[in-house]
Symmetry: C2
Subunit: 204 residues, 2 copies
């Protein structure tokens, strides 16, 4: 009997367009090669402060204009629905905390919540920075609203998210999305073809 292959790690921020695009493809791709995916929401604001990075749409005007165009073109290229959000970029600690709390209860539910939160921002143009929106999304996914409402304010879940972000930075994560396969790092939704080839061949 062979050992099951180790899961793939998927790091992302809920306000990252390319994180959203990859979130719509990574599980299915991994499953084709018998791999599971561990999702790790992080806070790019914290990571960027530590690394001195600037969000793509807050860079010089030529760059900001390019990335804005590339988000939508890359979405069309990948066949993923995309509507650029009115509120962007926005803080995502509530969505990330909700994810980790749900993950402690039911990891399939946490995954459904994560997809719903990403689609709420990048398809339905909802302001997922607001706790009320996060609670609505979770409730629609079948979560008990009042338990989650208390959990979002608990010191434990705040500490959990802080630890996750610290650990991601220690693992060399500097942006979103980042995928780690057996120790090999891939940055960006545009590395999807390389990720596929890596899974298919075990490294190239």
């Amino acid at each position: 009997m062979t050992e099951p292959a180790a899961p793939i790690d998927f790091y992302f921020d809920f306000s990252s367009p390319y994180g959203y695009l990859l979130s719509e493809r990574i599980d299915e791709l991994a499953a084709r090669f018998g791999r599971r995916v561990h999702w790790h929401p992080i806070l790019l604001g914290v990571v960027f402060q530590a690394t001195g990075s600037v969000p793509l749409t807050l860079q010089t005007s030529a760059k900001a204009a390019y990335w804005r165009l590339d988000f939508e073109r890359s979405a069309r290229f990948m066949g993923v629905p995309y509507r650029h959000p009115t509120h962007f970029p926005l803080p995502t600690q509530n969505a990330a905390r909700a994810f980790y709390w749900l993950h402690g209860q039911d990891c399939a539910l946490a995954r459904r919540f994560a997809h719903a939160a990403y689609r709420a921002l990048f398809v339905e143009d909802r302001d997922i920075s607001a706790p009320q929106t996060v609670l609505e999304i979770a409730t629609d996914a079948g979560v008990d609203r009042s338990s989650l409402e208390s959990a979002l304010q608990s010191p434990e879940i705040k500490a959990r998210l802080k630890d996750e972000v610290d650990n991601a930075m220690k693992a060399g994560i500097f942006g979103s999305p980042h995928v780690i396969i057996d120790g090999e790092a891939f940055f960006g939704a545009d590395r999807l073809p390389q990720i596929e080839k890596w899974l298919e061949t075990g490294g190239f």
Copy 2:
């Protein structure tokens, strides 16, 4: 009789790894769709100074380590030979000036020189910042050495390169490689699949 399609514009710096990777594919890809490519060497040092950007390998250690790994992995993925240069990044004004001077004489010769200069840096690990190396590469490509040697110091060719860099920045170019197809900008060698689909479909 139909108008021939407009050429594609390819902007690059001779010290850009992803520029080199794309240089090995772009002409052949364009030709499959009946398009020619105009090559435009630029100076990223000038562009980065104007836009406040930092070269990939001079960023924080986690980022620098990632990009270093990604240069080589992307080369293997694309099937392009790559050996990371000892001297990197390096100034490329001599190679760029040689290109524009040659282009004024014989554009096919300029193209052969450009390929040879890129391969000298990224395969043969030669220091192409040195005028002597640029002259050797050009001589091997069939250029008269003493004419080029004088040309590299001429005010006209220096002004030409400066104008090319200014025009690239005015066109919104902020990095290397950049490809413009009928007004649509593509940044990065990793946009090759999108470039191919754009050429195939006329836009998506």
